[in-house]
């Protein structure tokens, strides 16, 4: 599907890569992969990176709890949280100031547990590096893994994801636009191609 959204920059084109059903299936698969590689959910903590990693971590926690046979509506506060990385970025000085978001760590902490970092898009890898630094200020997990909904390539650091919803080859000038029901009212992943005259894209 190719369409021109008037809300985007003039002349930009957007095409849908994942819809609600594909996103649901990708997350279900990731949830099962996490359970398999860690032999159960006992020492697992899913930490979402704001903003869209946080609802993704919550959804994965729900899927894992269901697969583990926990009753629906059970308290999952020990299974997922949020990890703000604003204060650990290496590009703060070249970006407009961002107001930090709250960090929420399960009461049991992360020491000795397996932490799965969750984000929507993996790109340069710098966000994940910042998240690793932020984690080390909070505690010492037994292992840290990375789950992302979309891996769009163009890594600038030796970082890879353990669980990927969709590998999406992109050019640097394209933008990957993720929307989630919790934050944007709908579930969708789009690739936005800028108008030909525009230079470096943002994602």
């Amino acid at each position: 599907m190719t369409s021109t959204d008037p809300a985007l920059e003039r002349g930009a084109e957007s095409s849908r890569v994942l819809g609600p059903e594909e996103i649901r299936r990708a997350l279900t698969r990731i949830a099962h992969e996490i359970l398999e590689s860690d032999h159960g959910a006992e020492d697992l903590v899913l930490l979402g990176i704001p903003h869209r990693g946080v609802p993704l971590a919550r959804r994965l926690a729900e899927l894992i709890a269901r697969a583990e046979g926990r009753p629906d509506g059970a308290d999952l506060a020990d299974l997922h949280g949020a990890l703000d990385i604003t204060m650990y970025r290496d590009d703060l000085r070249s970006n407009p100031t961002r107001a930090p978001s709250p960090t929420r760590i399960p009461a049991a902490g992360i020491d000795g547990r397996t932490v799965v970092l969750v984000d929507d898009v993996l790109y340069s890898g710098r966000t994940v590096r910042a998240a690793l630094d932020a984690l080390s200020a909070i505690g010492r997990p037994a292992a840290v893994r990375l789950a992302v909904l979309v891996d769009r390539g163009h890594r600038e650091l030796p970082i890879r994801a353990d669980h990927v919803g969709k590998n999406l080859p992109t050019s640097r000038s394209e933008r990957v636009h993720v929307q989630l029901t919790e934050t944007d009212g709908t579930d969708a992943v789009d690739i936005v191609r800028p108008a030909r005259t525009t230079g470096e894209g943002r994602a």
Partner: protein, 320 residues
Amino acid sequence: MRHFISIADLRREEALEVLATAEHMAQTQSRAIRKLPTLVGTTVVNLFFEDSTRTRISFEAAAKRLSADVINFSAKGSSISKGESLKDTALTLQAMGADAVVVRSGSSGAAHLLAHAGWIDQPIVNAGDGAHEHPTQAMLDAFTMRRHLRPGDPHAGLDGLHVVIVGDVLHSRVARSNVLLLTLLGARVTLVAPPALVPVGASAWPCEISYDLDQALAAGPDAVMMLRVQHERMVGGGFFPTAGEYSRRYGLSAARAASLPEHTIIMHPGPMNRGFEIAGSVADSPRSVIVEQVASGVFVRMAVLYHLLATDAREAPRDR
């Protein structure tokens, strides 16, 4: 925000954004490792022309928690005591590569002059200028009030609260900054002072003025802020008849504190004259948040340094 000079320059949204960031900073300071790498590689200069213990240490702690390097430059023992002008000091700091300057001065307008005279390009933070403003003190007072009186909402203002500020308003930059900030955030402020300690023109401030402490306390305020009587600025005397009379009429005694509603908090920017403007037992009582104000000061100053230093507002591609 380019500089942090005066509450009068702030919009409500900007003040709330700084408070929200301060709340985030407070959260990071309860972690195992409290130092954040955010401002690594930057240098903050504390330029203090006036004596100060808590404000300077608070700024120093805030900068260091964010991994900035700190240079303390105080008037005593520096070339300022040899008569160097503010301009030459500023040019020196610029040449040395300071990324931000925190300035405290006995002269009203010193921070504004430093920011706008063209001697130095870096962000300037006002840490108190004469009897004009002390904006980070007002921010930490608002932060402390919000935590106690509007708990659980990191985006709340102070709408509907009533704050009584008592004492030496004439010499107090804290009172002026607080009147501006608290009203900006929606609170109602009553200043209480002997007539000789109310500045000329205070009637134009957005607050009520009273000369009777008991009457003001009878209204049941949500917070009572006692100001230090600044003896060192009262050259010539004559501001009130005797210390004993001032203390009787305008001091917060144990009996007066007991007459306040249960939820009322008691504040003081420090340093306190115990037994004079505030009774020792009141300062140490559970409703006193004076020590907490000091802790809040570090969070608020971290937030201010973050907003001034962690950006140069250039649009750039966002990496992930």
